[in-house]
Amino acid sequence: MDEMIRTILAEYGHLPVDMAKIRDGDDLYQAGMTSHASVNVMLALEDEFDVEFPEAMLRKSTFESVAAIRVALSELTGS
């Protein structure tokens, strides 16, 4: 799961730094991810993991780090 999250962030997160330098707990917004990029990340995650983020999960904190995204996806997929 983590590898796919990182692949999606690399493609849609528009981060100005190499994803390899981003640690699991690093704040992606602090690293340069914009709100618009986070929408694309969310949609790409939905496609890849066949889930839909409910409104209750549309918090900035849901997408603020690789670890946070992993927790959200685990909740949605039940894995």
């Binding site: 709100s35 618009h36 694309n40 409104e55 918090r59």
Partner: protein, 152 residues
């Protein structure tokens, strides 16, 4: 009528090509998760022109959210709507959680200005907070006299 009030200002810029890419990649799903029917129907024309309009609206949504200062739960993008007035300007309309945040903050009115040039779209949103509210008292800005409904 003159009253003491506080203002909040939010601004944001969006790269037009990134919105165009989102429309191309995610299509209707992207549009319907972010924009209202009114906003979608307001943005017509060639793909670049449409993307510029959508990008400016996204900037307005983000600028408004900065004004609302949510803690935790982020308002649904569609609950922050850019309404195009037939007379040629735009206004903001809030619903749901966004409207509740505005009410809590004592926001009495919002004004928005959109612009785009080349690959950059931007928006500025100004909120007028009622006097006597937490916003007015905690804004960190001095209260300023504001004329509501009168000529400048």
């Amino acid at each position: 009528m003159s009253t003491g009030a506080a203002i909040r200002v939010g601004t944001d810029v969006v790269a037009v090509h990134q919105v165009a890419d989102s429309v191309a990649r995610f299509g209707t799903r992207y549009l319907q998760r972010v924009y209202t029917e009114h906003e979608i129907s307001s943005c017509t024309g060639s793909p670049p022109v449409r993307a510029a309009g959508l990008a400016a609206r996204f900037a307005a949504k983000e600028a408004t959210i900065k004004v609302l200062r949510p803690v935790g739960h982020q308002p649904d993008w569609r609950s922050v709507e850019v309404r195009r007035d037939p007379r040629g300007w735009c206004t903001m309309a809030l619903s749901g959680h966004a409207a509740a945040l505005a009410d809590q903050a004592g926001i009495a009115d919002l004004a928005v200005s959109l612009t785009h040039e080349g690959d950059v779209a931007a928006a500025v949103v100004v909120a007028l907070c009622r006097s006597g509210t937490d916003s007015a008292e905690r804004s960190g800005m001095p209260a300023v006299p504001v004329h509501i409904g009168g000529a400048a």
